[in-house]
Symmetry: C2
Subunit: 209 residues, 2 copies
C-alpha cells in the first residue's frame, strides 16, 4: 500500500471498574503485527475512509481486545508527533471507552490505571496525557460516569471509583452531595446485599432511563 497522505489511527483507552480490586483498570493487549509485535499496546485501528471515530473505537475494542460490548465512548485529544509511529507520520485520535463492570470481560489484559506497564509506540505518553482529562469527566460527564459504574451502583463503589481516579477518597457526605447534583442520578431507598465482612449495607444509586 502506497501511503499518500497522513494516516489517522484511533487509539482507545478502555476503562473498566473492577469492584473486587476497587480499582479502575485499563484494557491493553499484545500486538499481533509489526511494528512492536508481541508488545502490549492500547487497542488501535486505522480509521477507515468515511468511518466515524466512535465506530473505529468500537472496532478496536471488539477486534483487538475481544470485548463484546462497550458502554460509551468519547473523544479525548489528538496526538500529532510525526515520529510516533515508525511506519511513518500518523495522527492518533485518543478516545475513552467504558466497559460495563457487570459484563464479562475476558480477553484483554486489565492493568490498574496507576500501574501501566511499558507500552508500544507513544502509548504511555497518551495514557499519562489523557489521565487528567479522564479524571475530569467523573461526575461531570454522565455518559462517562454511568458507563464506568453501570446503571446501578452503591455509595461504596462510587467512593472507590473516585479514589481510583483522583487519588484520594472523598468523605461520604461530600460525595453524596456531589452525586445529588448530578443530573439523572438518584439515590434509591434500597440497600445493597450485605458484605462478606459485615458492616452496614451501602445504599444504591440509579441512573434515570
Amino acid at each position: 500500500m502506497r501511503i499518500e497522505s497522513t494516516l489517522v489511527s484511533v487509539d482507545v483507552l478502555a476503562l473498566r471498574f473492577d469492584a473486587a480490586a476497587r480499582a479502575v483498570v485499563l484494557g491493553i493487549a499484545p500486538r499481533e503485527l509489526e511494528p512492536f509485535a508481541g508488545a502490549l499496546a492500547l487497542p488501535g485501528v486505522l480509521l477507515g475512509r468515511g468511518e466515524r471515530l466512535r465506530d473505529a473505537a468500537l472496532r478496536a475494542a471488539t477486534g483487538k481486545l475481544g470485548l463484546p460490548e462497550v458502554a460509551s465512548t468519547g473523544q479525548l485529544v489528538t496526538f500529532d508527533e510525526p515520529s510516533r509511529d515508525p511506519r511513518g507520520p500518523t495522527l492518533s485520535v485518543a478516545l475513552w471507552a467504558t466497559v460495563d463492570p457487570a459484563a464479562p470481560a475476558d480477553g484483554p489484559v486489565w492493568v490498574p490505571l496507576d500501574a501501566v506497564p511499558p507500552l508500544a509506540f507513544d502509548h504511555n505518553r497518551i495514557v499519562s496525557d489523557c489521565r487528567p482529562l479522564i479524571q475530569d469527566r467523573l461526575w461531570r460527564d454522565a455518559a462517562f460516569t454511568s458507563g464506568l459504574l453501570g446503571r446501578e451502583f452503591t455509595t461504596a463503589q462510587a467512593l472507590d471509583v473516585t479514589e481510583a481516579l483522583t487519588g484520594d477518597r472523598p468523605y461520604p457526605a461530600n460525595l453524596g452531595r456531589t452525586m445529588e447534583r448530578v443530573p439523572g442520578l438518584h439515590r434509591t431507598t434500597q440497600h445493597a446485599a450485605a458484605q462478606a465482612k459485615g458492616g452496614r449495607p451501602p445504599s444504591v444509586w440509579r441512573w434515570e432511563d
Copy 2:
C-alpha cells in the same frame, strides 16, 4: 489525486481582541477554490504528510487570512461527520489561534464571535461547538489569554474581553481577584494613558517573561 484514505484538514478559529469595538472577532475569508468558492469560511488547509497540527494552523492563518503572525495556538476538537465535505469524508481538527491585538491585521474579514455570518461546509457548527471550549480557556489557559490580550493590557480591556466571551461583564473587584490568581500575571503600578472621554485611567497588567 486519488484519495486512498481519510483526509485530515485543520480549521482555525483565529481570534483577535478588537479594543476599539470592545469585541472578540473571528477571522474568516472568502474561499478561492471550489467547493464553496466565494463563500466565507474558516481558514483551513489539508494536513500535509508529517506536518504538525500547529504548523498547519499557522499555514492556514498565513495563507488564507494573510496574517503575518499568530500569537499562540491550541487544539479544540475533531469533527468526523463523513458528509461534512462534499469532496468526500474528511476529518477536521479545529484549533484556536490568537492574534496580537497590537499587530496589524488587514486581510481577513473580522466578524464578532456573536454575529458570525453563514459559512461554508459545517463551519458554523464548528464555531458554535467550539465557543464554550474557547470561553473556558479565558483566565485558565495562560497562552490563550495572553495571546488574546497581548503582553500588557488594562483592567478595562480585561473586562471587555471577558464580557465578549462569557456574555456578561464581571465586577472589576471580582475580575481583579481572578487575575491576581492567574500564574505569571501581575498588576503593575502603572496606569494607562487617559481616555478620550475622560475618566480615571485604568491600571496596567503585565505577563511575566
